[in-house]
Amino acid sequence: MTATEAAIEVRGLSKRFGATLAVDDLSFSVERGRIVGFLGPNGAGKTTTLRALLGLVRPTAGTATIEGRAYAELEDPTGTVGTVLDGGMFHPGRSGRNHLRAIALAAGVATSRVDELLELVDLGDAADRRAGGYSLGMRQRLGLAAALLGDPRVLVLDEPANGLDPQGIRWLRDLLRSLAAEGRAVLVSSHVLAEVAQTVDEVVVIHRGRSIEQAPIGELLARRAGGVRVVGPQVARLAELLRADGADVQGDGDGSIVVADRSGEQVGRVIADNAIHISELASAGQTLEEVFFELTSDDLPAATETESAA
C-alpha cells in the first residue's frame, strides 16, 4: 500500500434489494490513523455498506476497497482488516476459545495469540464456556478479540458499543484511540452520535442510503450546533448583511433570526460594525442528539439538497 492510498475507499456504491435501494451512490474514504464514525439511524444502509466493503454483499454499482483492493482479493484478509459485525457471529454451542482458535487456524495466526486476546478483552475466565451463554457485552468483546486476532491495519466495527456498559464503552473508546494512534484506520458505525462524538476524528452521516455529510467532527459540531440566535428590532438588516457574507440565516419575519454557521463573536462583530440595535444574542445551543436528529430527519435531505444546489 502506498502512503497516499486511503485505507478504505467507497466510490459510488449502490445496493438494491428488490424494490429497496438500501445504499444509493455512496462515497467516502477513511485515511490511516483516523477514526471515522459512520452514522445514520437504523435502516440507513450502514450495515449493508459495511458488508459490501467486506465482500459479503455484492454491490449493484460502485466499488468498496480496502487498501485499494476488493476484500476477496486481499492476500491476508485477517491481517489486513479486523471486523465486528452486528448480530450472531458465533455458534452458541462452541466455546469462545474454540471460536477464536477456528479463526486463528484458518488465518494462519499463532494460537498463542488467542490467549493473549482473551486476556485483552477480559474473557479469560469465560473462554471455555459455550458462547451461547455469554451476555451481549461478552459477545461484543469476543467479537473484538476475533477482529484483532490478525493484528489488522484496518478495523471495521458495526455498532461495537451495543450491549456494553459505561465502563465497557470507555474501555472501547480508549482501545480505538490507541489503535488509531498506532496508525490503524478505524471505521465505526453507530446510530447514536453522542456515543462516538468523543472518539471519532471524522464523521460520515448517511440517511436512506445516501451520504449527507463527511466532515471532521469538530467542524460538524461547530457548524450545526454553534448556531446563534439574535432578537431585536433590526435583525432583518443583520440577516441581510450576514447573508451577503454567505452565512446560513433562518427566519427574520418576527424579529428573531438564527445564524447557523457563525459564532457569537462573529455575529457580534457585524452588529457592532454596523451599529445594529438588538435586544438579545444567545447561542442556539443544540445538543448532539438534536444535531444528529436534524441531520437525519426525513425533512432534511431535501433541505440539504437545496442548500448544496444553491
Binding site: G55, V57, A72, A106
Partner: protein, 248 residues
C-alpha cells in the same frame, strides 16, 4: 488450503451435534449388528457376512446429515460471516469443507464397519456359523462402504450450500434418499433408470449392499457416479455462495 481444512476440522469437533451424530451412528450399528448376529437364524443359502457388514451402511444417512450441517449451520447461526471474512475465497472454503467432512466420513465409516465386522466375527464364531464371505470380498465391501459414507458426507456439504435452510436441507436430503427416489423408481420406464443411476443405485453398487436386490452397475461405476453427484452439488453450492448476499 490446509489451514482452512484444519479450521473446518476444529469447528466440526467443537460442537455437541457432531458428537451426538457419531454416538447415535455407532450405537445404532452396534445394536443392530449385535442383535442380528445373535438372533438371526440365517437360513441355508444366506450370506451372514454380507448382511452383517451391510448394517454399517446405516451410517450413510448420518454422514449425509453431517455434511448438510457443514454449511447450513453456518447460515443458521450467522457464523458464515466470520468464516467468509477469514476465508473469502468461496471455492477454497467449499474445498476445505468437502475435505474435512469427507475425512470425518472416512473415520465414521471405518469405525462403523469395524464395529460390524468385530461383532460379526465374534458372535458368528461363538454360534459356529460360517460368514459365507471371503476375506477379499469382505475387504472390497468395507472399502466401498467407507468410500460411500465419505461421499455421502461430501454430497451433504453441497446440498447444505444449495439449500441453506438447515431443517429444509436435512429433511429434503433424507426424504430424497428414502422416499422420493424409491417412489420415482416405481414409475415405469423412468424408474429403472432412477434405480440404477440415482443416488440410491450408486450407493447400492458402491457399498456392495444386497439391500434392494443388488446393483446393475459395477462398484467402480457406482463410486464414480457418487463422486459425480458430490461434484455437481459442490459446484452448484459454490456458484450460489459466490452470488448470494450474506446478510445473516
Amino acid at each position: 488450503m490446509s489451514s482452512a481444512i484444519r479450521s473446518e476440522l476444529l469447528k466440526l469437533r467443537t460442537t455437541r451435534t457432531f458428537l451426538g451424530i457419531v454416538i447415535a451412528t455407532l450405537g445404532l450399528v452396534a445394536l443392530i449388528a449385535g442383535a442380528q448376529a445373535a438372533a438371526d437364524p440365517f437360513d441355508a443359502g444366506a450370506t451372514p457376512g454380507v448382511d452383517l457388514l451391510d448394517v454399517a451402511g446405516l451410517a450413510q444417512p448420518f454422514a449425509l446429515v453431517l455434511g448438510i450441517l457443514a454449511v447450513s449451520t453456518e447460515f443458521r447461526h450467522g457464523t458464515i460471516t466470520p468464516t467468509l471474512l477469514t476465508t473469502p475465497d468461496r471455492v477454497r472454503l467449499m474445498l476445505a469443507k468437502l475435505w474435512a467432512h469427507g475425512a470425518a466420513g472416512v473415520v465414521l465409516g471405518v469405525v462403523a464397519y469395524g464395529i460390524a465386522a468385530l461383532l460379526m466375527a465374534a458372535i458368528l464364531s461363538a454360534r459356529d456359523i460360517s460368514s459365507g464371505i471371503s476375506a477379499g470380498d469382505g475387504l472390497e465391501m468395507v472399502l466401498g462402504g467407507v468410500a460411500c459414507i465419505a461421499l455421502l458426507a461430501a454430497i451433504g456439504v453441497g446440498v447444505g450450500a444449495v439449500v441453506r435452510n438447515q431443517v429444509g436441507a436435512v429433511i429434503g436430503g433424507l426424504a430424497w434418499m428414502f422416499m422420493i427416489e424409491p417412489l420415482l423408481a416405481a414409475i415405469p420406464n423412468v424408474g429403472e433408470w432412477v434405480e440404477d443411476y440415482g443416488i440410491g443405485g450408486a450407493i447400492t453398487a458402491l457399498s456392495g449392499s444386497s439391500f434392494g436386490g443388488g446393483a446393475d452397475i459395477s462398484q467402480l461405476a457406482g463410486g464414480l457416479l457418487l463422486v459425480g453427484y458430490a461434484l455437481l452439488f459442490a459446484v452448484a453450492g459454490v456458484a450460489l455462495l459466490r452470488r448470494r448476499d450474506v446478510s445473516a
